[in-house]
Symmetry: D2
Subunit: 369 residues, 4 copies
Amino acid sequence: MSSYLGKNLHISVFGQSHAQAIGVTVDGLPAGERVDMVQLQSFLDRRAPGRDATATPRKEADVPKILCGLVDDVTCGAPLCAVIENTNTRSKDYDRLKDVPRPGHADYTAQIRYGGFQDVRGGGHFSGRLTAPVCIAGGIAIQILQRRGIEIAAHIRSIGGAEDRPFNAIGESKEALQNLKNKKFPVLNDAAEEAMREVIVQARAEGDSVGGVVECMVTGLPAGVGDPMFGGVESRLAAALFGIPAVKGVEFGAGFEVAQMRGSENNDPFVVENGKVVTVSNHAGGILGGITTGMPVVFRLAFKPTPSISREQASISLSRGAGETLTVEGRHDPCIVPRAVPVVEATAALVLLDMLLDAPAVWKKEVTE
Amino acid sequence: MSSYLGKNLHISVFGQSHAQAIGVTVDGLPAGERVDMVQLQSFLDRRAPGRDATATPRKEADVPKILCGLVDDVTCGAPLCAVIENTNTRSKDYDRLKDVPRPGHADYTAQIRYGGFQDVRGGGHFSGRLTAPVCIAGGIAIQILQRRGIEIAAHIRSIGGAEDRPFNAIGESKEALQNLKNKKFPVLNDAAEEAMREVIVQARAEGDSVGGVVECMVTGLPAGVGDPMFGGVESRLAAALFGIPAVKGVEFGAGFEVAQMRGSENNDPFVVENGKVVTVSNHAGGILGGITTGMPVVFRLAFKPTPSISREQASISLSRGAGETLTVEGRHDPCIVPRAVPVVEATAALVLLDMLLDAPAVWKKEVTE
Amino acid sequence: MSSYLGKNLHISVFGQSHAQAIGVTVDGLPAGERVDMVQLQSFLDRRAPGRDATATPRKEADVPKILCGLVDDVTCGAPLCAVIENTNTRSKDYDRLKDVPRPGHADYTAQIRYGGFQDVRGGGHFSGRLTAPVCIAGGIAIQILQRRGIEIAAHIRSIGGAEDRPFNAIGESKEALQNLKNKKFPVLNDAAEEAMREVIVQARAEGDSVGGVVECMVTGLPAGVGDPMFGGVESRLAAALFGIPAVKGVEFGAGFEVAQMRGSENNDPFVVENGKVVTVSNHAGGILGGITTGMPVVFRLAFKPTPSISREQASISLSRGAGETLTVEGRHDPCIVPRAVPVVEATAALVLLDMLLDAPAVWKKEVTE
Amino acid sequence: MSSYLGKNLHISVFGQSHAQAIGVTVDGLPAGERVDMVQLQSFLDRRAPGRDATATPRKEADVPKILCGLVDDVTCGAPLCAVIENTNTRSKDYDRLKDVPRPGHADYTAQIRYGGFQDVRGGGHFSGRLTAPVCIAGGIAIQILQRRGIEIAAHIRSIGGAEDRPFNAIGESKEALQNLKNKKFPVLNDAAEEAMREVIVQARAEGDSVGGVVECMVTGLPAGVGDPMFGGVESRLAAALFGIPAVKGVEFGAGFEVAQMRGSENNDPFVVENGKVVTVSNHAGGILGGITTGMPVVFRLAFKPTPSISREQASISLSRGAGETLTVEGRHDPCIVPRAVPVVEATAALVLLDMLLDAPAVWKKEVTE
């Protein structure tokens, strides 16, 4: 149980940061689904670095090569495999990382787990770069969901102390959600962008990094998706979302705030609107008993600050069993949160498509407007 | 993918609140492990209701009957199945719940998911009562882990606005952790108990309920347990923990606070202490790259206020497609957080034992002091 | 990966021969399916021993107690758990089996696998008795499949050298299949019964046992069920069927005979009959590329002779590391093949219902004649 | 549940016959295992076609490109992905196959399963070509097993009516097994080769094809590997082996012959030899109760004759709903059995390595002679 996931839609992610390639296999995609390659590339570009002062200057050409699974850009029922070749891999001497683990990185734990055989170059299989194949698979899932009226959109809820306004949990306009996807820096309140950028630029100037929160909303999901206990929407989304590097917290609906609420506040009253059952508020985040209510599914993820900072840090030499100082070299994002936004959308899409494939009635309904 | 979980240690939970019985099957327990039945019953008693003014007055005799899997109280390698018979099930007319769903409950989502065939009596399979079998399985896992020097202890971090002190993430004394397990109201700072009880009593007096946070610490785990991506400790714990009813958020280490931290603050510097690699702080909650560092694993869960409140609430009649008011009758916990503490420990134990069975070197080491 | 099985329909079998109970949990049964308890009991009775001279004189009351999962005999979507209490368990001293393993039994392998902690009484978890819970789960699955026009029927193809006629692979009349289910000794050609019984009686008279072949046919399956490679019908059926104790071979369609055939013989030509695509012959056993063709699915299983024979056999004493002779005491079936027939049907039903739940279009179609 | 397999060692196969590439991802390989690339290529060459008159004249360059998972030819703990690019793909017009399905092929079932979107070129994902990636993964597993003293060797047991001698089930000399691996036409009795080749040449001359049986032996497995019921060695091997195209039967030990045996014949008496527990005969094929006995594991697979024959065959036009004749063009193996031998070995190696990873004590023991 490691770099694979899913029941009906089975994804298997592979690659190390400096291996010949990284990629993903997706088994179980329904046949007959067209993949719009231009739209997929646009989606991947949202994750790509190297665009401005708030991101790493590395240039990675995240152009996926789809090896199989499509015939004339339409899924054929066979597993789809896509790879991204690693071209920009300066594999200088990484050996010191085996001896002097970087604080906050997986260097030390990988050393123990793999007995020193792990690939340390660029973080190996633990690199954030592995989110690119997740985005390929998820980008395809998003297109399939959209055809059925399901939209997934995320925004930067906060970076350090700078905050965007939260989603309105009972729903956002289609335009608001669509806008987010067209923004390089996806926030609902444009004023937030400048404050956030400043936080990032400041951190970088100080040789430091900063964390943040991503908030995601899924609209158009029918009621009745999910299973009780460990098969609930929260369980399955969380299992996948915690697979995104740097995520340290996941919450649904009102999340940790529920701890301070009264039942009379937190319970979302039902009403019938235009013949449809809805709730007046949505503290449940669209999920009751692990099953969707038909209201938007809303969740937030906490991302820790990138552990790679240019400041000198205290570590140890494993061989000498003694203290050592360390300066992480190379070009690093002072904040990965903006680039994480499409990764969150992609991961959610994979889980939700997987779950919808359990719900035949829903699955069949293709929106054709 | 529903009421079962696990790879090496496979648990399958069954039962409805008012069915003849509830129970659990555990497949994959290593053979030769003694189950101390008295200790197990004490553990289950921590979850049991009916003890004082802050809990429901129902009396459930959570005495498990172990049908198989043991020979003379020692695991024999065959699946263990334990059941608790439901004796105190006043199955009055629950049919109205199919028509008028209780806000905050799974009544409506179950109705959609199961086409009206769900068991609505007492919440059916969605009842918090289903955490009892989880505690049987987890209580056994806890004994097995303890024999290997691994301790799991949780406390009530907060109820409403009343707070206990947080765990010291780099470790608590063995006594402090042991004390928690002997308390009916497990808090680190005894002064917190009164404040919390007051919050609960107040909510009950107002016909309302209140939520809270449970914090859990696992000590004695070796470094190197876990796998990258979706097989990480966070992913696997979260998938299980979100299966506990009422949980709306899970965070590890510094959790959502990381979003406001700088890398230089959040990174935990390595040092060598008595020949052992440790970290000076533990914002990572004992997990880097999904793999244990050897420091305590620390996580928190947000529990929503019990949706069952005696106040009148707004709902709808599904048959009439129109508004309706609803008063939830019966005896209900105004706050389930105290009773949730052992459930959190049990759930974590199941996941961690499962993961340790992947780590043979660790597994073999039985502590014999 | 042990005593559980399935993707959409997850079954988990528990119990030892002389434990307090044996049973099964079935998670994923669609809600709203009526279980006819009388029909289920009749099905279980087909597996029960103690009926005549060809079976063991033990009397086991295979009356299942359904603990949960049904409301008024209708599935409610929650896991169903059924147990059979073990009443007739003469637990005399079985300890010698730990030292002197019975040839052909799992005594020795269980000793190694479970380090001597296994339950040896009556074969423990390896007992053929564990097929009773499989029949409960499968008996329910059979009812669900029948409602959709899918029939599963098996017969004794051979016992020792005595043979029944084979199924006509392109189909048998509904009556022929139905007849099999009403027979205590299910053969197509009634003349075969006497010869078979004689083989069994002869073996018993000589303190010996005898093996046989069971052949199974499934009609009414639509074309298009199954997945390529390891998700094929053959793979999934075989994985389950080899879980039945004593099975040493599984073959589909023409089976091992294909090895001697030419392609021109073995290929089944397609024709259109009454607007439906069928094949003229059915050497494929209704499966091409792991996917159903719409023709009957046909397969056979080889059962070894019961290892429990009353003749003296050569074995060893593990403690002394030296030879020892052994006489298996107790009452044993000289041939388990007749009782295995419903077990084969039950096992097949569980796998096929699981696979059909992947095929929504098929699933929805309920036959209402 | 389709083109992936395994619990600890998870393989995921991808590709279609005429897609850009085929390949495999292997997740869970233990770190620190050297992959001898020359030995791997030799192994793959055993599966390659185009060597003599008994095989297809196509030339496929089965040279795997390992994209990740190795550092300096040593496993690093990250998933290994290997691809083979398809260079020799004459993608002429295959559209007719969608309308006129080839008898014995998956054309028709894929058409139904994938609604006409399947890749028909060269058999798509159902092509025997997909066994090449299985051989890459399995070839690596074989090297890992060999280091622990476990050998897997298969031979052609029969082709049509021409037979090789069977394995001696209690064991073959190391040389005999090693010899098989060095033969282009792996038989134990060299005299069998000529007879078999004649059968193949004759079939080809008549525009026909022929089936056969492959027998496989695994030596060096310790006792105690496997789990009861559906986790048994037979269940898990069979699930994988039936994933090999054209397999219609799998049997272990004495296999279908047990049906005609008496218990006194079939039971394998235990004896102690040189302090080791062995059985005098091995009708059990090294497996009792699903768990290894320590004796060689022996099994056989029936392969059907290649459905692609150059003779005219009867089929139908799906669009016209009427009969049609068909001649399969292209270059095809008149008998795939010789090429299937390494595929069987590879598949078995993957399953057994997966199962051994559950058995830590065994796993650790590396043979260092």
